[in-house]
């Protein structure tokens, strides 16, 4: 049944108890994502070190189980990844959520892959794909911007 594929245990768990859901104090990059159609919001905070590696990642936001779980799983997986790895993982995830049956990247371990694949049920719900991808697009934006302006405003 499609619904069971969509709302797998792991999604429900991350949706209810999102990991890394906090405002990071010590961030040097961030970006906000917003889906104006449904009102879902996410704000990603990154601490990127001098070697372009994510040493800390957190997020704030509100939204459906899919968007919260996606941000939660993503932030878990991105810790200690460098810029190129982040890029590869984001692309791989976006391809998987839209069309590819599997993740192709070799960066993740089997357990991590299984966790991320739990979001693949979204494929059958075109209206919900954006819920799953919002955090990932926002992460890409955060990596690109050092957002000093956003910092000084906060």
């Amino acid at each position: 049944m499609n619904l069971k594929e969509l709302y797998q245990e792991i999604i429900l768990d991350h949706g209810k108890n999102p990991r890394n859901l906090k405002k990071s104090d010590n961030f040097n990059k961030d970006a906000k994502g917003h889906n104006p159609l449904c009102g879902d919001k996410v704000h990603i905070y990154l601490k990127v070190d001098e070697k372009n590696k994510i040493s800390d990642i957190a997020f704030e936001g509100s939204g459906c189980a899919i968007s919260m779980a996606s941000a939660s799983i993503m932030t878990d997986l991105m810790k200690e990844k460098n810029e190129n790895e982040v890029k590869e993982l984001v692309e791989d995830f976006l391809e998987m959520i839209k069309q590819n049956p599997e993740l192709k990247s070799k960066i993740l371990g089997e357990n991590e892959k299984t966790k991320l694949m739990s979001l693949s049920g979204v494929k059958k719900y075109p209206m919900r794909v954006k819920c799953a991808t919002m955090a990932w697009h926002t992460l890409t934006a955060a990596m690109k911007n050092s957002n000093e302006k956003a910092n000084s405003k906060n």
């Binding site: 429900l12 939204g63 459906c64 209206m127």
Partner: protein
């Protein structure tokens, strides 16, 4: 009123949706279409099509008569004084834009105030926002109370000597509150302020009498009234249509066009530039006849019984929290479900063929005030039954089960 018989007039319910009978609870968004409306569009295009108001050949004359017949049907339906007070637009959104644009151009200056309410749909805020930018007018919002109502007092409190227009919804598409538009109009007129009513949710469900309400402008969305998409109606008092400038320029709205100048046509052509949504206007005549046949009094009674039943059922469900509790309420049931986001509710319900809306319903101001990013909304139409409400409730229990509530 025999509801089974009415439902049978809507062909959409003959089809299965994902192997389920359709439980359509999204009529505030758009209503389904009765067979007579669908047939009218088909017949017009296959047997009677021509453009209106221009050529003198047989089909053109016949089409023009059909088009103008709808104007008269609408005039009578809403008890306007004159058929020329009915302007066809591409939607209620365009109707409100027409008023904001032309009224703003002619009568507003920097510092003038437009009074809206916190309940407004974006389509009755964004058009006025343009005037904030172009003219420097101020926009004020009359507050809604804990029950999700905007009272006459709340309007009165926000009127100042600078208030130049009051633009309010007839029926909130989120809380269901029916505003006291007649009383608000009376108060506004005592201070020489015109009133625009966004009637998108009012027109499909409530008896309308423009001469009794007395408002200056009333915007209608035809696709929410069992009619075609791409069509709206602006009711405007003749005195306004005569003094306001045209909205869009083009064919059909002019009297004389010379190199050195242009004069504009009479009402209502002045506001109907270009080829209009002819087939839709003609088919909308059938929507009005359909409503007349059932009788708006019967519709009001049926829908209000159903709304009360819905409130009762949803209140019994401990995890459901209804949004708003207005004394005078239309057929809208907005709610949240403990521990389940509105979008997840909508997806799970959809699997059972239950179609609802989830999100901010184009009312971000309202949702921000309630501290909610999204709500779920079941909205009713003439074809709904108690059975539909029961199915809604069953599917909500399924949501709870999936989410472990």
């Amino acid at each position: 009123m025999n509801i089974d018989n009415i439902k049978k007039q809507f062909p959409i319910f003959n089809n299965k949706v994902q192997n389920n009978d359709l439980v359509y609870l999204d009529s505030a968004n758009s209503s389904q279409k009765p067979q007579v409306v669908v047939d009218r569009i088909y017949d017009f295009y296959t047997k009677e099509f021509s453009n209106v108001g221009r050529s003198v050949h047989y089909l053109a004359v016949a089409a023009t008569n059909l088009y103008e017949n709808t104007r008269v049907l609408v005039q009578k339906y809403i008890n306007a004084h004159d058929p020329n007070e009915i302007v066809f637009t591409k939607g209620a959104t365009e109707a409100i834009n027409l008023v904001a644009n032309t009224f703003g151009q002619k009568f507003l200056k920097e510092g003038d105030e437009i009074l809206l309410t916190e309940l407004e749909h974006h389509s009755n805020y964004v058009p006025w926002h343009y005037l904030r930018r172009s003219k420097g007018v101020k926009i004020k919002f009359a507050e809604f109370n804990a029950d999700g109502e905007v009272t006459l007092e709340s309007i009165e409190k926000n009127i100042t000597p600078k208030t130049k227009m009051i633009a309010i919804t007839h029926l909130s598409n989120v809380t269901g509150a029916i505003l006291p538009i007649k009383e608000i109009t009376k108060l506004a007129h005592s201070k020489n302020i015109p009133v625009l009513v966004d009637g998108c949710q009012g027109a499909p469900h409530l008896k309308l009498n423009m001469q009794d309400i007395g408002c200056d402008f009333y915007a209608i969305s035809c696709h929410k009234m069992y009619g075609p998409t791409g069509l709206g109606i602006l009711y405007a008092k003749k005195k306004w249509l005569e003094v306001l400038p045209p909205y869009q320029g083009g064919g059909g709205m002019i009297r004389e066009v010379k190199k050195e100048g242009i004069t504009f046509g009479d009402l209502p052509n002045k506001y109907e530039a270009g080829t209009m949504a002819t087939a839709q206007v003609i088919a909308f005549g059938e929507s009005i006849k359909f409503l007349n046949k059932i009788g708006i009094d019967n519709i009001e009674k049926h829908e209000s019984e159903l709304t009360r039943y819905g409130e009762e059922i949803l209140r019994k469900n401990n995890s459901v929290k209804l949004i708003g509790n207005p004394k005078n309420k239309g057929s809208v049931l907005s709610f949240t479900l403990d521990g389940v986001h509105a979008h997840d509710i909508a997806t799970i319900l959809d699997e059972d063929g239950v179609a609802i809306r989830a999100g901010h319903h184009c009312c971000q101001i309202l949702h921000d005030k309630l501290g909610l990013s999204a709500t779920a909304r079941a909205s009713l139409g003439v074809y709904n039954t108690k059975d539909d409400i029961d199915k809604l409730n069953e599917s909500l229990n399924k949501c709870k089960k999936i989410f472990g509530g």
